[in-house]
């Protein structure tokens, strides 16, 4: 009796630990690849292939590293919370599929655009459109997950006789289009706005002041700063109205923590905008990323103890004790190592560009 309750407590602690690492992995993905994707959305409005090529070249060397955080987040989800992995991804089949098609288009466009002669335009557009669909449908997926999904046990596939097969494991039980709601469509737009802002800040920091791309990115960033502020407010109000679990926290006894947090977010946004207008571009990018970190952490904290609100708690979704222990022992140490060599990679490729110089050297 004593032992089993100890084990329950250990699993609970380990699953909370992995829930935090999962949050960190998703955060690294949206913070890093968000800028790449946003620069790609910016490239949708580029006048010529030279500019699209320059934008692609400005992220050569680390876009694949950034994208890999998504795969790592998937790996952590599968390794620590397979019950969520196997049900949420089933629920999100359609939006994830389209987001993946976007990612595929982008990834091959990076390689093919350099070598192409007559098909340069095609790959330029594949890059830009892929950069738009990936964050949009990732945002839709996030919004859908916040709303939760129905589950049942037994055979998952409909139209198949169970033939005596039973299992206590809960599978996804809804339809193909359950993910699609006004809220999830809105979060898709929200993700595009957030990525657009990050991309603008990234391009400002990446290209020399006075360069054509820098100039365009400057006004783009101004526009998206205001769009992002509006989007944050709409998302918060909407979430408050439809999610009782969020409302209970935000206006519960600890309301002042959330209020202070929100003020800090506004302060970061303000610093990002002022630094941007003073052309401290890299500093502006960092303050902007700070906003992403703060909002993501707040979202993660609002959801606790749920990993999928109303559907899976962190504790119920975790692997058995033995698997959690092994995963923790062998994998936790790699997290700082991964962050370190990714940082080294970004550091090697830092520096300012001009449209002409990168395109030629690409």
């Amino acid at each position: 009796m004593e032992l089993s309750s100890d084990i329950v407590r250990i699993v609970s602690a380990l699953s909370t630990w992995w829930w935090m690492i999962l949050g960190l992995m998703f955060l690294l993905y949206i913070a890093l690849d968000g800028a790449d994707l946003g620069a790609g959305i910016f490239a949708l409005f580029s006048k010529d292939e030279e500019e699209r090529g320059a934008i692609m070249a400005s992220m050569a060397g680390f876009w694949d590293g950034n994208e890999t955080w998504l795969v790592v987040a998937g790996g952590v989800l599968f390794g620590a919370f397979p019950l969520v992995y196997g049900s949420a991804f089933n629920f999100l089949m359609i939006p994830l599929m389209i987001a993946l098609w976007g990612i595929i288009s982008r990834a091959v466009a990076f390689e093919f655009h350099i070598h192409a002669r007559s098909s340069k335009r095609l790959w330029g557009w594949a890059f830009a459109i892929g950069s738009l669909t990936a964050p949009f449908f990732a945002g839709v997926s996030l919004g859908a997950v916040l709303q939760g999904f129905p589950m049942k046990s037994g055979i998952a596939m409909s139209g198949i006789a169970s033939r005596g097969f039973t299992t206590p494991v809960m599978h996804y039980a809804g339809g193909a289009m359950n993910f699609l709601t006004p809220f999830s469509i809105w979060t898709g737009f929200g993700a595009v706005i957030a990525a657009g802002l990050a991309g603008g800040l990234f391009l400002c920091a990446r290209f020399l002041p006075g360069d054509v791309i820098h100039e365009r990115a400057k006004s783009w960033t101004n526009l998206f700063s205001y769009l992002a502020l509006i989007a944050i407010v709409i998302t918060l109000v909407w979430s408050y109205a439809i999610f009782p679990w969020a409302a209970a926290k935000w206006t519960g006894p600890n309301w002042w923590i959330w209020a202070i947090w929100f003020v800090i977010v506004l302060f970061f946004a303000f610093k990002s905008m002022t630094n941007h207008s003073m052309q401290h571009d890299f500093t502006a990018l960092l303050w902007g990323e700070g906003v992403v970190v703060l909002l993501w952490a707040a979202m993660w904290a609002t959801m606790f103890p749920y990993i999928v609100p109303g559907t899976w708690t962190v504790h119920a979704a975790s692997n058995p004790a033995n698997s959690m222990a092994v995963f923790t022992l062998f994998m936790t140490g790699f997290v700082p190592v991964m962050i370190m060599y990714n940082w080294y990679q970004i550091w090697v490729f830092r520096g300012r560009f001009t449209k002409k110089s990168v395109y030629g050297a690409h």
Partner: protein, 488 residues
């Protein structure tokens, strides 16, 4: 008909089979070629021979395109288990999920971290650091293959687990990781990647000799490549044979399918020892409609005795028998290619021994060169064959003997399955045809426009007006960026 061949389940299998089959066209070349690039770079740094540098930079272009295609198709794989086989992912999470987690954290991320340095780091990091990056790409991609093979082999021989609360809980990690199938399965796959990369090298080299472009340069590469193949090709046949025996012991239904072996005993009661060279199998009827048989060969192959009993399909219930057509013929294609490649390796080394390995002599043997060019395509087909044998031979189980495939399929409609299938046919074919088109463009362009390695660390073109992103308004030049080597 088994339920796994009914349309909804079959479509889910096709959905997964298609994306994996297309993904496996890229990853072996990344793994094998990263090691070959490492050795070429090492040869360049050791000998100072500029030709190794040229060859390295040339094949690196192919490597990059290939890697990009591998990433593009690979991100889907990471999500596809949960999307298409959610209940399977949930049940096997405690082991399989952990291993996939190991793979992304220790291998996939590791590889992505170094590949950027390897590809774009020329001139930005020191030579030593670059070599180190290349080495790490080799190690990390091989590590990735190892974890994936651990996970897949465990589906073939699920050792070290107990089924509890609907989940495969691990009772012994060592048994589960070093499962029976993994012991030969991983070496078989890893050596395949090396053999594939070597034949791609040989094939491209032979094409240049055939076209009389940079013939001496490519013969310099062709010689060690063919010599290495003289070891690797027979080694792969040996490993493959051992892996086959392993399948005979642990997955007798899979072996029966790949040999088209239906009847354990002949009508007169003696063991059926015949090996089918070719056959027209009829799984429903449980027999071959037609076959060309060689007596005793099957017993010799599987039991190493003249009259040993090899269990046929008739020893197993009808609803536990896999399809025969694909495993039977895919297996034969793989084996035939394995021997054909060995023959090409012998042919090449025989020519070399007789002093024919130079441009003027080799052009007198155009059929050898053509055979080598053609051999570059065969390993891809052999790898497909091997995986189809493995995956279809395991049916109707997704975890052999423990979980039926239909039990693991996600909750989705046939419309969803078809949308996925059609969408991925388009996307994967665009990736494939695009990559192969650009392979051919890179090869057409050749090595002549690759600048001398001296230019790497001095000439930065227009970069002199580039400033550091982190430095605000100061604008130090690109060439003065801090680098890992001391003479900056």
């Amino acid at each position: 008909m088994i339920i796994e061949n009914s349309l909804p389940v079959l479509l889910s299998r096709l959905d997964f089979a298609w994306i994996t089959s297309m993904h496996i066209l890229w990853t072996p070349m990344t793994i094998g070629m990263s090691w070959l690039l490492f050795f070429m770079e090492l040869a360049w740094l050791k000998s100072g021979d500029e030709r190794w540098y040229k060859l390295n930079r040339f094949f690196e272009k192919i490597f990059i395109i290939n890697f990009g295609a591998g990433v593009a198709t690979g991100v889907t794989m990471e999500m596809a288990f949960g999307i298409l086989y959610g209940p399977f992912s949930q049940a096997v999470g405690p082991f399989f999920g952990n291993i996939l987690g190991f793979e992304t954290i220790t291998a996939f991320m590791y590889e992505a971290g170094f590949i950027g340095l390897m590809v774009f780091g020329w001139g930005k990091i020191s030579k030593g650091m670059h070599l180190f990056a290349t080495l790490n790409v080799g190690i990390s991609s091989s590590l990735s293959a190892m974890w994936i093979l651990v996970a897949n082999s465990w589906m073939q021989t699920p050792n070290g687990v107990v089924l509890k609360d609907g989940l495969f809980q691990v009772s012994n990690w060592w048994h589960a990781i070093l499962n029976d199938n993994f012991i030969w399965g991983f070496p078989h796959m890893w050596v395949a990647t090396v053999e594939l990369a070597l034949f791609v090298f040989a094939s491209v080299s032979a094409w240049f000799v055939l076209k009389n472009r940079n013939a001496d340069l490519f013969i310099k590469l062709l010689k060690p490549t063919l010599l290495a193949l003289l070891i690797v090709a027979p080694l792969q046949i040996y490993i493959g044979d051992s892996a086959g025996k392993d399948v005979a012991d642990t997955q007798p239904t899979s072996l029966a399918a790949m040999e088209g072996h239906f009847h354990t005993y002949l009508p007169d009661g003696k063991p059926n020892t015949s090996w089918n060279l070719i056959a027209i199998p009829d799984v429903e009827a449980g027999k071959n409609l037609f076959s060309i048989q060689i007596p005793h060969v099957l017993s010799l192959l599987e039991t190493h005795t003249w009259d040993g009993v090899v269990k046929g399909m008739d020893q197993y219930p009808v609803n536990e028998r896999p399809d025969v057509w694909v495993p039977f013929y895919a297996f034969r294609v793989m084996v035939a290619i394995g021997f054909a490649l060995f023959f090409v390796a012998i042919w090449g080394n025989w020519l070399r021994m007789r002093g024919r390995m130079n441009a003027s002599e080799l052009r007198k043997h155009p059929w050898f060169l053509r055979a080598v060019v053609f051999s570059g395509f065969l390993p891809f087909l052999a790898i497909w064959g091997g995986w189809w044998v493995r995956e279809i031979g395991r049916q109707p189980w997704v975890v052999f003997g423990l979980m039926r495939t239909y039990e693991g399929v996600s909750n989705m409609s046939m419309a969803q399955e078809i949308v996925w299938f059609v969408g991925y046919i388009i996307f994967e074919l665009v990736v494939w045809s695009g990559a192969w088109y650009f392979f051919s463009r890179v090869i057409q362009k050749g090595v002549d426009d690759i600048p001398h390695s001296d230019t790497l660390f001095h000439d930065h073109g227009e970069d002199h007006d580039a400033a550091q992103a982190g430095g605000g308004h100061v604008a130090p030049t690109f060439a003065h960026k801090p680098m890992m080597h001391s003479d900056r």
